[in-house]
């Protein structure tokens, strides 16, 4: 019997004890890899060899607990090793080496912006969420995560725990931030996908996934009392096997509670739910691809959410924070106690006693307890003299408090169970995973494509308003309590009719005169052919939406959340590299730093017809400061006699647009973003907002200018008469591009007639032009170009198409 077989046999047997020592020092790479796979560690051969070297240096063998801890810590989910890898990248014949995408394009770019704006970003990258300054006393933060793999397998529970997890991130940011608003963004297969288009067994139909996910978010968010205010949905067949579920939450905190530190002598405690076998290997599970077998075997990696347990823990945490009883806090997410305690004790060191952990079921062995991802748990470091008061608060809010152990200043993470030491690791070694080396390649796929002639603009507009990319998300939005906490000033649906779409959401922040704007942008269609353009346009759109709602363009921060398929495929990784470059370039010009981000890899599926990957998908979400409630600007037409103007230049390229998809214009050139020009426009727009000159503003995005105009008029206030003769454009812009193109950096604004000259003066030489007027005398959307009538359609019919487009499916 070979050495490996004996090890595997040994592991396959029921453990005689609560832990065991594994002899790995004599195993070769192949055998180590087998061991990794057998234990579901998701560690590569190189990783396992590095582990073996560490133990050879220490002259001992690891315990199973230690191997599990290292696997959790080094998992892609926790360590983001692809964003830290050395990448040989080739694009259009040029070669370069990127030493860490994260450092080069996220961290360094953001740090340069921090230097340009001292005092604005108060914390970034090292905590659970990044903080920006709201006013002299308060800060706000935002964090977004994905919960893709669990949502593919068990949509309701996956989304449920997705929102639960990101809420805990906020509770564990600083010494505990208060969750004040949530966002959710989904990518699904089309709702009308036919079953014979699903080429694998046990894959759930997109409708089943959508309904489960929405209900999961609803039942957790609503019960927690956090308004879900912002979101987006993309439908594309590339997401049939790997749906994407992004959950984000914003928080507020007194600035004095941002910094936290663990010190020797502190008690490490946990509050909230108990620990069970649910959620074993979630972190390593989400760091691997899915296949049909995943639907059978990985169920134990999906946890069950209990929002009331989390609500009680949240009430406790915020009360304890306000009584200044917390020295350090973090959430129990991927990796469970092992990563929470690991993060907390990595420098200080300390002892965790697993005997103190209250369990959901008997007979759990050491590693199961230590890495279980059971939900609704928070880990805190507190002073010993605070314990009595903390226990009182835990009793008051009916949450369970346990003492996990002590911080001791040794630098060693020690775990004991049944009187034995089951893990003893030098924390500094835990966080040095081997650097990966990858190669990437990207060739631009786009070409110049002639725009079709617009024969019947009204028909085209109707088709666009009925497209899944454009239709109202109202059936879903109404299922979320988006007004709990009583602070949602600009709601996701608003305007005089109460059901018209808005660009961003604006939240009042209790205790401040200032407000927070929140928005999201996701344009995966653009990235299929031009990921760099997708990157710049996503940042632009996210920022534009916040600015449109009244935020100061110089006080914005953004998050980057990536999802992609197989990073070992050169083309896919190449698209990722180009996307990262795009968002970095835009962030730098706009001065909007990244304060947090996350990435999800291996979103591909082994179907009967080979692997199917999602396109590289970037979600840019943002938070921005709105100086005063009088600056809050909605997207819906407010008056019967106002003027309509457009800001920004319309370009000829139709690539990435919904129109191009509908007309079958494959690989058409995707519009670039003139970021310097855009930032000038946004600053001028903000100046006009501050002077009270803007009645409403709506961004031009999916569906182009015609859809934007229609949506603005869905408030029901008046018809619109628009003449495109004076539309600011680039060269050779077709009528199709004017009406339906999606080039970035444009806003449609509504202005009182008497203010037109003042607004024009604010914009000066920049792209700004009045196009027409609100027409109280009728209720049609009428768009002309000189004498040519391009669109003349009753708004009530257009609105009905848009409003009911998703209703049949949800």
């Amino acid at each position: 019997m070979s050495e490996t077989e004996s090890i595997l046999d040994q592991i396959a047997e029921a453990p005689a004890d609560h832990y065991r020592t594994l002899k790995i020092s004599d195993l070769d790479g192949e055998r180590l890899l087998e061991l990794s796979q057998f234990m579901h560690l998701s560690l590569s051969k190189e990783d396992m060899l590095a582990v073996r070297e560490i133990y050879r240096d220490w002259n001992r063998e690891p315990t199973d607990v230690e191997l599990e801890v290292i696997a959790q810590t080094w998992s892609e989910h926790c360590k983001h090793r692809i964003f830290g890898a050395d990448i040989e990248h080739e694009t259009n014949g040029k070669k370069e080496t990127v030493k860490s995408l994260f450092k080069t394009y996220i961290y360094d770019v953001s740090n340069r912006i921090f230097d340009r704006k001292p005092g604005f970003v108060l914390s970034a990258f090292h905590d659970n969420a990044g903080f920006i300054k709201l006013d002299e006393k308060l800060a706000i933060c935002l964090k977004a995560e994905t919960h893709n793999h669990p949502s593919a397998i068990e949509p309701y529970a996956g989304a449920n725990t997705g929102i639960g997890g990101v809420v805990r991130d906020i509770l564990g940011a600083g010494k505990g931030a208060k969750p004040i608003a949530s966002l959710d963004v989904f990518c699904f297969g089309a709702p009308d996908t036919t079953m014979d288009n699903i080429k694998a067994e046990d894959v759930l139909h997109p409708l089943g996934i959508m309904r489960g996910v929405v209900r999961g978010v609803r039942d957790y968010g609503n019960r927690m009392g956090i308004p879900t205010v912002s979101g987006a949905i993309q439908f594309d067949n590339s997401y049939i096997y790997n749906p994407l579920v992004y959950c984000g939450t914003a928080g507020s905190i007194p600035i004095k509670y941002i910094d936290k530190e663990v010190g020797a002598g502190m008690k490490v405690i946990a509050v909230g739910g108990r620990t069970g076998r649910d959620g074993l290997h979630g972190a390593t599970f989400s760091s691997a691809a899915l296949d049909t077998e995943s639907h059978e075997s990985d169920q134990q990696a999906v946890q069950i959410g209990n929002p009331i347990e989390e609500k009680k823990a949240a009430d406790f945490v915020l009360a304890a924070r306000d009584a200044d009883l917390i020295e350090f806090i973090t959430d129990c997410g991927a990796g469970g106690y092992s990563s929470a305690a690991g993060e907390m004790l990595e420098e200080c060191g300390g002892t965790i006693n697993l005997d103190n952990v209250t369990l959901k079921e008997p007979g759990m062995v050491s590693w199961e307890i230590f890495i279980s991802e059971s939900q609704e748990r928070m880990v805190l470091a507190v002073k010993e003299e605070s314990m009595q008061e903390l226990q009182r608060l835990a009793d008051l809010y009916e949450t369970e408090l346990i003492v996990l152990g002590d911080a001791d200043g040794s630098g060693i993470l020690k775990v004991t169970h049944h009187g034995e030491t089951v893990c003893q690791l030098d924390c500094s070694k835990l966080h040095t995973a081997p650097t990966r080396c990858l190669s990437a390649k990207w060739e631009l796929k786009t070409k110049s494509v002639d725009a079709p002639a617009v024969d019947n603009g009204g028909k085209d507009l109707r088709a666009l308003l009925s497209d899944f990319a454009v239709v109202s998300r109202e059936p879903i939005i109404r299922e979320y309590d988006h007004e709990v906490q009583g602070n949602t000033i600009l709601k996701p649906l608003a305007g005089a009719s109460g059901d018209a779409p808005q660009d961003a959401s604006v939240m009042r922040i209790s205790g401040s005169e200032r407000l927070m704007s929140m928005s999201v942008s996701i344009l995966p269609e653009w990235g299929k052919t031009d990921p760099y353009a997708m990157g710049t346009a996503c940042v632009d759109e996210c920022i534009r939406q916040m600015v449109a709602s009244g935020a100061d363009p110089d006080r914005l921060a953004i998050l980057d959340n990536f999802c992609m398929g197989n990073p070992d495929a050169e083309e896919e990784l190449g698209a990722l590299v180009e996307t990262v470059k795009g968002i970095a370039a835009a962030a730098e010009v706009y001065g909007a730093p990244f304060v947090s981000g996350k990435d999800s890899f291996y979103n591909y599926f082994e179907t009967e017809e080979g692997p199917v990957s999602i396109p590289v998908t970037i979600l840019i979400s943002g938070m921005g400061i709105v100086e005063d409630v009088s600056h809050v600007t909605g997207s819906s037409l407010r008056r019967e006699d106002s003027l309509i103007a457009v800001i920004g230049s319309t370009e000829s390229d139709l690539g990435g647009s919904v129109y191009a998809r509908q007309k079958g214009l494959a690989n058409a050139t995707v519009p670039g973003t003139d970021m310097d020009a855009a930032m000038g426009l946004y600053r001028s727009y903000y100046e006009a907002v501050k002077q009270g000159l803007i009645l409403s503003a709506h961004d031009v995005s999916e569906g182009g200018l015609a859809v934007t105009l229609a949506e603005a008029a869905f408030s029901g206030k008046a018809g619109l008469e628009i003449d495109l003769s004076s539309l600011p454009t680039g060269e050779d812009v077709s009528v199709a591009a004017m009406l339906f193109g999606e080039s970035p950096s444009r806003l449609v604004v509504e202005i009182a007639p008497e203010n037109l000259e003042r607004v024009a003066a604010v914009f000066g030489e920049q792209s700004f032009a009045p196009l027409g007027r609100a027409a109280g005398e009728h209720s049609n959307l009428k768009v002309t170009r000189g004498a040519d009538v391009l669109i003349d359609e009753p708004l009530d019919e257009l609105k009905s198409l848009w409003k009911n487009g998703l209703a049949h499916y949800y």
């Binding site: 609503n222 609500k311 109404r478 979320y480 709990v484 009583g486 000033i489 209790s510 009270g692 009645l695």
Partner: protein, 250 residues
Amino acid sequence: MEERPRALLLKFPGTNCDEETARALQVVGFSTEIVPISALTTETLDGVSLVMLSGGFSYGDYVMSGRLARLVTEQKIDAGLREFRDNGGYLLGICNGFQILTQLGLLPEGSLVENTSGRFQCQWVKMKKQADSPFLSLLPDEFEFPMAHAEGRFVTMSAEDARRYRENGAAAVTYDHDVNGSFEQIAGLQDETGRVFGMMPHPERFLYREDHYDPDWKNSAPDSAGSGKEKWGSGYYLFRSLYESVTSSN
């Protein structure tokens, strides 16, 4: 400074509208105290003018909404809330609080069950005042509030009971159309004393003018920034009505 009447907000695990409701009560003149149910004793109610049951999902509302909250409240203070009312105290239940008051039998008999849509519904609704109530005295005959619930359909054993509530003034507020299948479109109820009031929509979410979805609500002249603009939302007037009743009856 005059002494403010005391409002006590009961907080169950899962209650989540307590902070904004406390804010609304403070704005109109109450002093407020949020009391987790674990700390509730009969003595807690001494000197209190209003017991507030805020919105949320008490104990998750996984069994019938408000059911567990009722059982725990009775276990803690038995018929304490009934005695509080009999001694002149006021009780207000919003959303989950309305469900709990109904479960406690402090309001005319009936149940709040799943909306006919089978969905959670977060939307604004127009409402009508159908009877005089200390909670509604400053509100006009018609007003708007946001609602957000999955179980807000008010039903009675027979349709006749609901009709009687309309006639005898127990059904103090109704929706202006059928939003959730409530019998007689009943949105809120009061008891015979008028001091106990429950309602599904959320007045605390419409405290200020800018909480409304239409930026031009009660403001036809957008240029008149600050001049004569209505500052308060309809919710303010509900809580202020209550405050005036409480202070004049003391």
